[in-house]
């Protein structure tokens, strides 16, 4: 639209945007690729190497002397260091310090005078002139070239063992009602603040705008006390799903009311006035005209609220227990970071499970999300 787009500098724009896009997507891409890698490969090589075969140092213990066979006057132990696995032996050696001394097919002399030969396909032979003694087998050090392997094993593991499956259900249990229930309440309030005349309306709008930025931290302690009190009084546990649904509703209402009011104020006044002339009450107008017309705004808020409740950690940590049937995905992930901090195969797969639902929502409903953002930022 500006001269610059036609100038020779245009490629600079393309290049810098491409660079920024790569910078912004690379972290997530790395996570996704890593979560699909074989866990032994993931632990020893960067995900950017995952398309090329990787080299690993491996130790293999050959069968003990009791497995030796006498052949042509020599004693032989044979087998395969790869044990039927994929890959190739790139080099081998007889000590842990020099695992790459010999090429496949060469013969290494061991301490006891035995001769060790390892082929590229992994088959090996230890040959000795006299009977080998002892109970433990010879250790063979080798460098294997392993083709990169992609697998869903990590996902299988987190769903079965790490409790991610249960937390997935818990997150859904928290997010779905917390998204749907506030919408109706907010829509009625927004209509009243947008189109009904009553004293104090301007003040209430100002209060809603003010509450929009109240830090959640302010509410936590008093509400925790309140919940404990109510729980004690009614003889029910203080940390329940109902409690967190209501909390999410309370925290989401200011934005919901603000968004919906902004949208409803923009609807044409004539529609409402002609309906009123026809004898419709405010209630009829709201249910039959405003609510259907407000669908885009309702959808925007629903997406916001869903993303926020699904991604929330703080509210869940305070108002919901840490048991297996209550811990949400974000909470589970924080726990895993603490307990399985080094197990990247668990962490990457778990993290991807927690972000996949928001990403699907994001990519399919992005239009509404952008519209909501534009309406929701206080102008």
């Amino acid at each position: 639209m500006i001269a610059a787009s036609r100038s020779p500098l245009a490629w600079v724009v393309h290049l810098s945007v491409a660079l920024l896009v790569i910078l912004w997507t690379l972290p997530t891409a790395g996570l996704l690729i890593s979560s699909l890698r074989d866990k032994d490969q993931l632990a020893v090589s960067g995900w950017w190497t995952s398309l090329s075969a990787s080299t690993q140092n491996v130790v293999f213990r050959a069968p003990g002397p009791d497995k030796q066979v006498e052949k042509d006057g020599k004693f032989v132990i044979s087998g395969n260091v790869l044990e039927g696995g994929a890959g190739e032996v790139a080099a081998f050696g007889s000590s842990s310090l020099k695992p790459g001394d010999f090429e496949p097919g060469q013969t290494a002399e061991l301490n006891g005078g035995e001769k060790l030969t390892v082929q590229a396909d992994g088959s090996f032979e230890i040959v000795s002139d006299k009977a080998m003694e002892g109970t433990r087998g010879q250790r063979i050090f080798y460098q294997a070239t392993v083709p990169s392997r992609f697998t869903f094993d990590n996902y299988r593991e987190v769903f079965n063992a790490a409790g991610i499956g249960a937390s997935f259900i818990n997150s859904l249990t928290v997010a779905i009602p917390s998204t749907i229930i506030p919408i109706l309440v907010a829509a009625f309030a927004a209509y009243a603040l947008a189109w009904m005349k009553f004293p104090g309306r301007a003040i209430l709008v100002a209060v809603v705008v003010g509450l929009l930025v109240v830090p959640l931290q302010m509410s936590l302690i008093p509400l925790l006390k309140l919940y404990n009190g109510v729980g004690l009084f009614l003889g029910v546990p203080a940390k329940t799903y109902v409690g967190i649904w209501l909390a999410h509703m309370g925290f989401g209402l200011p934005l919901a009311i603000y968004l919906l009011r902004n949208y409803m104020v923009g609807l044409p006044r004539e529609i409402m006035e002609s309906a009123r002339v026809d004898g419709a009450s405010d209630f009829d107008i709201f249910v039959k005209i405003i609510l259907p017309l407000s669908f885009p705004a309702l959808a925007s808020f629903a997406i916001f609220q869903f993303l926020w409740t699904w991604n929330d950690l703080l509210v869940a940590m305070v108002f919901l227990g840490a048991g297996n049937d209550e811990l949400v995905l974000t909470g589970r992930l924080v726990n895993l970071l603490g307990s399985r901090g080094g197990n990247w195969e668990i962490l990457t797969a778990s993290a991807f499970v927690t972000i996949i639902v928001p990403l699907i929502v994001f990519f399919s409903l992005q239009r509404f999300l952008v519209r909501g953002l534009l309406a929701g930022s206080v102008k």
Binding site: A3, V13, L20, P177, V214, K379
Partner: protein
């Protein structure tokens, strides 16, 4: 599964309760003060009464929820900040005296100011640059979607993503963290980035900038498109180059939006908690107010007085923005 079924059932029950409440109260209101079918002064009197009651029926549930979940807690937090750990005994300013003498608190304040200086500035800056650049290329929308995407990712998820990038392996072994791999590739030696005092703040900030840039970009992109073409065309005719147009014509016209983006991100920064909890939990001098507050809620059985005092500090920092927002909103209302 059973639990999900229960959740959906409650959802339906909740929605039904709302519907019953709104329909029910309005039905009763119309029954007590009927205006249809009547005529004359009786009808207009009833209409007036229903018109003055109905707004409160509409607003009722929302107002009660807001009062319980936001207004009451603010007041109660102020009260608790002046009481002891269980909230019973009045201790005056003791919590605040403790707070300002506490090294960890001062560290948090310092870090929070760092965050406030860096994150809104860089997120807005990148958002503006990307918005301006993507408007000029044919694949701009795809680029925007990809940069916007981290918005959907939870802070905890983002923390795991970046922790993987910062991952540290001892020198000599192969690095699986991208940052250390790059450092080693260029001949440096690997570092455990999140454990370096002071600098780790910036490594944590990168995560929030990564998330918030998309937000800034979306809003600023819309603002840039809203700039009247004529102003830009006039500048082109006067011989201004691309940079001059951007800085002297476009930026001044979207100052208002830049301020909105800046303040919105500022508020997010003040509330940031998940990232610090997941990455360092305040170790290595990376503590921030929100995480410190959460810590005191449960530390040593929970000290509600100190926790509330820290929450109050966050609130005080937000108040200027709150006042500014309210003033803008009322100005807009009067125009409406």
């Amino acid at each position: 599964m059973q639990q999900l079924f229960f959740a959906i059932l409650t959802m339906i029950a909740g929605v039904l309760a709302c519907v019953v409440y709104f329909f029910g109260t309005n039905f009763i209101l119309d029954k007590i003060f009927p205006s249809k079918g009547l005529s004359g002064p009786q009808a207009s009197r009833n209409l007036r009464i229903t018109n003055s009651i109905r707004p409160w029926l509409f607003l009722g549930p929302a107002l009660i929820t807001l009062a319980v979940y936001l207004v009451y807690p603010v007041i109660e937090s102020v009260r608790l900040a002046f009481h002891d750990k269980s909230g019973i005994e009045f201790v005056g300013l003791r919590n605040f005296v403790w707070m300002f003498n506490d090294g960890e608190f001062r560290q948090s304040i310092f870090n929070n100011f760092l965050w406030l200086l860096v994150v809104p500035a860089l997120a807005t800056f990148f958002g503006l640059i990307i918005a301006a650049l993507t408007d000029r290329i044919w694949w701009g929308n795809i680029a925007k979607t990809l940069i916007f995407m981290p918005m959907a990712i939870s802070f905890v998820g983002a923390s795991v993503i970046w922790k993987f990038i910062y991952d540290y392996r001892p020198e000599g072994t192969e690095q699986i963290g991208l940052l250390n791999a790059l450092v080693v590739y260029f001949g440096g030696s690997p570092e455990a980035w999140v454990t370096l005092p002071f600098w780790n703040n910036f490594f944590l900030m990168v995560i929030l900038i990564w998330i918030q840039t998309g937000f800034a970009m979306v809003i600023l992109s819309a603002a840039l498109r809203g700039i009247p073409e004529e102003t830009v065309e006039a500048a082109v005719i006067d011989g201004a180059n691309g940079l001059q147009i951007f800085f002297k014509i476009m930026i001044p016209q979207i100052w208002g939006t830049i301020a909105v983006v800046w303040t919105t991100i500022t508020i997010t920064v003040l509330k940031v908690f998940d990232i610090v909890l997941a990455m360092t939990n305040g170790q290595w001098q990376s503590q921030v107010l929100a995480n410190l507050m959460f810590d005191w809620m449960f530390r040593g059985g929970g000290d509600f007085g100190r926790g509330a005092a820290i929450a109050l500090v966050i609130m005080v920092l937000v108040i200027p923005i709150m006042v500014w927002n309210i003033r803008n909103a009322t100005k807009e209302m009067e125009g409406h």
